[in-house]
Amino acid sequence: MTTRTLEMALSTPSLDAQGRPTRVPLGVAGRGDPNDEFGAEPMLVNIGPQHPATHGVLRLVLELEGETVIRCIPHIGYLHSGFEKLGEYRHYNQIIPLTDRTDYLSPMANNVGFALGAEKLMGIEITERCAVLRVIACEMSRIISHLVWLGTTGIDLGAYTPFLWTFYERERIYNLQEAWTGARLTTSVTRVGGMMADLPDGFEAMLRDFCKTFPKTLDEVDTVFTRNAIWCGRTQGVGVIGRDEAINYSLSGPMLRASGVDYDVRKDRPYLGYDTYNFDVPIGEHGDIYDRYRVRLEEMYQSTRILDQALDRLPALKGAPINVSDPKVILPSKSRAMSDMEAMIFHFKQVMEGVPAPAGEAYMGIENPKGELGTYLVADGTAKPVRWRIRPPSFINLACLPKLCEGALLSDVIAINASVDIVMGEIDR
């Protein structure tokens, strides 16, 4: 055995032309030398599927040279539940409970996405109050989903405290969801043509209070992270994907916008009247983890703005219907079904036969916290869809992980994977 001298390139972060810190990988001297026992051969490292930093049952097989990733092979499917297959055996309203369980970090937004798709298929115009309630549901979901992302990514990179702050705030939204729907996670808040329930008493005041105090927590997170040397060092210039490549990889949501593409479904294909709300869409510049963080942080401020505006609209719509008036689509109230013959017949037919959709097909995309959630429904005139396809945003975002990880350090893989914001329920479906 020869004597070996290790020379570590202990770098002081130098700045590049854009003023961003450049990183020098800590390497082992003499890499590539065939006589070198360190790092000359590629090494195989397995991460997951049972690993907290993979954010679910994701398994990554990494080929390493020293600490540098040569290749990353993701394996998915551990949580495959066959939702799309199940949907072909269910009425449209019976599918809604399945949508909770896809992206379980933002269940309400999934409910809204499916209901909008089914309504587009059936040609149903929802009521004004229903649209406002759905905007509230979507933006609450965006906030809790981004809060989970922020907290867990912070933990992945060694910051524990912001996790406690974000989960405290998330808990407040969960309480609101529970008050509204009776469930914290399996909300199933929408119905085709309306909502499961109107807002409970006191909900508006609680949400208004949240909107008032929540930005203060965000400010604190901003203070802790945005100019933090460790955070910047771990995230700036890591996992970069450029504008054209981000489009070519079909990325969506904050991943796409962090790469400088000005595309948000709420602005470009407005649904639920999003074009009547005032909000800004944050756009990144460098396409790295840091910009994804900045985009998601700003989106939470913007969601609070939208929630405030939606709450302002509610008093004028007090008592307005939340469901369309078509008795063939919306179940009558239980008391009417038990006392009125006609209502009972409608109730029976809807429960036993479901609501048929005319033959045709519809694609409806909405801006979910993780990207564009598409609902593609094909109907043949019966009450069950021929095909229910979810366009899963984090599945498509995750597909570019091998590209993002190429040439990164092993420790950066954790940060890059976290920055994609995946949720395995949706990826594996």
Partner: protein, 220 residues
Amino acid sequence: MTDGRTDGQTVGRTETAPQSESVSALRDRFGPVVLRTAVSCGDSIVWVDRARAHEVLAWLRDTPGQAFDYLTDVTAVEYRDPERDLEVSYQLRSLARRADLRIKIPLSKSGPLEVDSVVDLWKGADWLEREVFDMFGVTFKGHPDLRRILMWDTYAEGHPLRKDFPLRGHFTRAEQTRQALAANPEAHYSMEELSIAEAYDELPEEMRHRLSHGERGHVL
């Protein structure tokens, strides 16, 4: 707003939404390659012939007036009517023009379920095409790495989203349980992955034998 060749199965209602301008441009450029067109729920749909579908998609992406630079989704549809063709569906979008278009390729079930891969046009199609292959058994010619993605590599029950696939699978519950118990976690590395680390040579003889004879293959 549908043309005379709509079969009435897909569009069973009066559509008032206008057809996308790209549809007539496609007809002018490709003529008979465009099999038929329709508008459903406001979405324009174009059925194109399998043989030149890749050319059509490349043209839609690269022609300045079309500029469908974003591949929203790739999926497939199989209808309940067993006579109807299976369709591979591409949902395209032009980010700059804010336009959408759905291209569908009908595949006769009596022939090979095979289309050209579009991974060379959109890298985002990689996993989407793998999923269609996994769930429907459609082969994408020219795909760099076409293998199952949601189900495991040696899954032998078929393609789950096909209509002839029962909801509970082809095998009995007992057989499925038996296979799950017989699965060997050590064999969960592919041969390719093991060859990266050259770990294969260092495995015990007995395990090497099992792996090279397809440990999970033999229970099928």
